[in-house]
Symmetry: C2
Subunit: 156 residues, 2 copies
């Protein structure tokens, strides 16, 4: 028997399982943010959180971290800036002019406010699986993601 003739269904693949789970998580997040009347989107929240732990990061580097293209990263930042949650300023990186940014006091308060609001809800969800199991899954995914990043032309 040639085992290569046994084709696995895509719908049984890890790729598919990841996408489906991620899609549901995104739905849950969106519904939660609306229900709790949080004034920014999940993506904006993720960007704000990333900025909070990467003070002085430039737009393109942020884009790489949140895996969005430069155009949309810029648009997200416009929103966050217009709400006063971040400041943007021109600076240099490798002798090039770039737009760096940092979280404001207001943004920091907002971030903590959101964290407190959603903590309980998200825990209720992730508590369905033991924490140590998550830790393992997370480390596998992280290792895998690093591999992926090396293979893919993210074009950011």
């Amino acid at each position: 028997m040639d085992k290569d003739t046994k084709l696995e269904h895509y719908t049984d693949s890890i790729h598919y399982e990841l996408e489906q789970t991620s899609r549901l998580m995104k739905m849950l997040g969106k519904q939660l943010f609306e229900k709790l009347e949080i004034g920014i989107t999940m993506d904006e929240y993720a960007a704000l959180d990333t900025i909070s732990i990467n003070a002085g990061i430039c737009q393109r580097d942020l884009a790489k971290l949140i895996i969005k293209d430069r155009a949309n990263t810029g648009r997200i930042l416009e929103v966050l800036e217009s709400k006063g949650f971040i400041t943007r300023f021109i600076d240099t990186k490798n002798n090039r002019l770039v737009k760096k940014m940092g979280i404001t006091e207001k943004g920091y308060k907002e971030l903590n406010f959101i964290n407190k609001k959603i903590k309980h809800y998200f825990e209720n969800v992730t508590n369905k699986i033991p924490k140590e199991t998550w830790t393992k899954v997370q480390s596998v995914l992280k290792a895998f993601r690093i591999e992926l990043e090396q293979m893919i032309d993210t074009n950011i």
Copy 2:
């Protein structure tokens, strides 16, 4: 020390890791499908695969499986039908008129053709992590996904 005061960053959460990994996988898939000049999208392929193992499924049930809304599921099916990969026919389910579908001979050939084309490439990617590790991750995600599906109003 109140451990509740220690707030985990969203970007360290399993939610975030899942989304980022899934996003990269999607990019990879898209780039691969274009490089190999496969004439349908990943989403259409996923739908075709799902139909192939769920003969006679109706649109809404398919939408639930591929986690897309009814509108977009219908659009995907239009494409697959126009290419002759599936047939759609009116039937009843619980005494209601529904559009059921099945894969055609041509669609089945196309599915196998695509599977053969991508197999090697996808294996090269997933081989970065041992197979038994994937099996564990997959079973965790599947269990989690079932929980999620019960909590979320997918509105499909």
